[in-house]
């Protein structure tokens, strides 16, 4: 279990800056955000963004990207002691049950420490409380298992809360993989 703790703490922890509702056919939506968090070993700071394009009224093509740095503190990040990680996920998003639920099935490319990693990131989104809050569950499943620990992915649970400001365009996002806690603030455009 302890090995699992150290080995499952560093992968693809980024917010889900959207709700379950799909955009109209041919329409676009964008969100951007900053986030940070920590586990017992390191802190993480990053920026993220998401784009949705309406393929139909119920199906979007959803793409999100993030850049994060892990280090012992934000000061160390700026001193260059961090480890960078880039994530890009893209795939369909299916909204259902009156747009209250959505299922994303993106493929994810992660670049970290001069290596590329491929994974699938199936994600469930559930809008509650009059679309003011979105709960999400994402499993990032690596294509290739880790050689030592058999590590194959992270399960992430989180929620977005849309603040009653700027027509609900500002959201707080909190998520955890059970080891670390991460949060951020996003803006839908």
């Amino acid at each position: 279990m302890c090995v699992g703790l150290i080995l499952s703490s560093c992968f693809a922890i980024h917010p889900e800056l959207q709700n379950a509702k799909s955009v109209n056919k041919g329409a676009h939506s964008y969100s951007i955000g900053v986030y940070g968090g920590a586990n017992v070993l390191v802190e993480t700071y990053g920026v993220a963004g998401v784009h949705n394009y309406g393929l139909t009224d119920k199906v979007d093509w959803s793409t999100d990207g993030s850049f994060s740095v892990q280090a012992s503190s934000l000061k160390r990040v700026f001193q260059g002691f961090g480890v960078n990680q880039y994530n890009l996920s893209t795939g369909p998003k299916f909204s259902m049950l009156n747009d209250e639920f959505a299922f994303r099935l993106p493929a994810t490319i992660t670049f970290s420490a001069e290596e590329l990693f491929l994974s699938a990131s199936p994600t469930l989104l559930w809008d509650v409380i009059d679309e003011k809050t979105t709960l999400f569950l994402r499993y990032n499943r690596l294509y290739e298992r880790n050689a030592i620990e058999g590590y194959s992915g992270d399960l992430l649970l989180g929620f977005n809360y849309f603040l009653p400001l700027r027509s609900n365009q500002i959201m707080l996002s909190i998520q955890s993989n059970g080891i670390g806690l991460y949060g951020g603030i996003g803006l839908t455009l």
Binding site: V3, I6, S9, F81, S112, I148, E149
Partner: protein
Amino acid sequence: MSCDRTANWTTIDFLSGTWEGQEITNYIKIQSYPGALTPHSTAHLLNQIDTANTTSSIDSAGIVIDENIFVLLGEDKISITGTDKTIDWSFDTESIPPGLEPIFDSLRILFSGEQTFDIQLLNRKECVLYFDTVVPVYYAGSLVNVELRHTQYWKK
């Protein structure tokens, strides 16, 4: 004006003196995994570098815990000999899971004797030493390559 005084300094001049520990980061990369960064504070350490005798002495709370001799390899590498005890302060083993013990058993062998560091940064105030290596580790009956990226950050 201080820049004028160091204009002709070489690496050995900058190294001389007492350095205060800041942080050591060990980045452990294992096959098929992005890696685990395990930073820990070394603020309790003082590194007394005697360039006349080419010795380095690590002090923690008034107690000498490690002594080495070193050789400069050009202006940007330093080879440190007598590193048998270095692993004791280079890794915060309290935060390292016991399951990674095979890796550290291999590292103890690696650290014993001599280790060559890149001098990534060196000026009057800061010193960053770095090395990376691949350690073959037997795990569950198979050989796994574990890459270690080790960075020491010191300040005056």
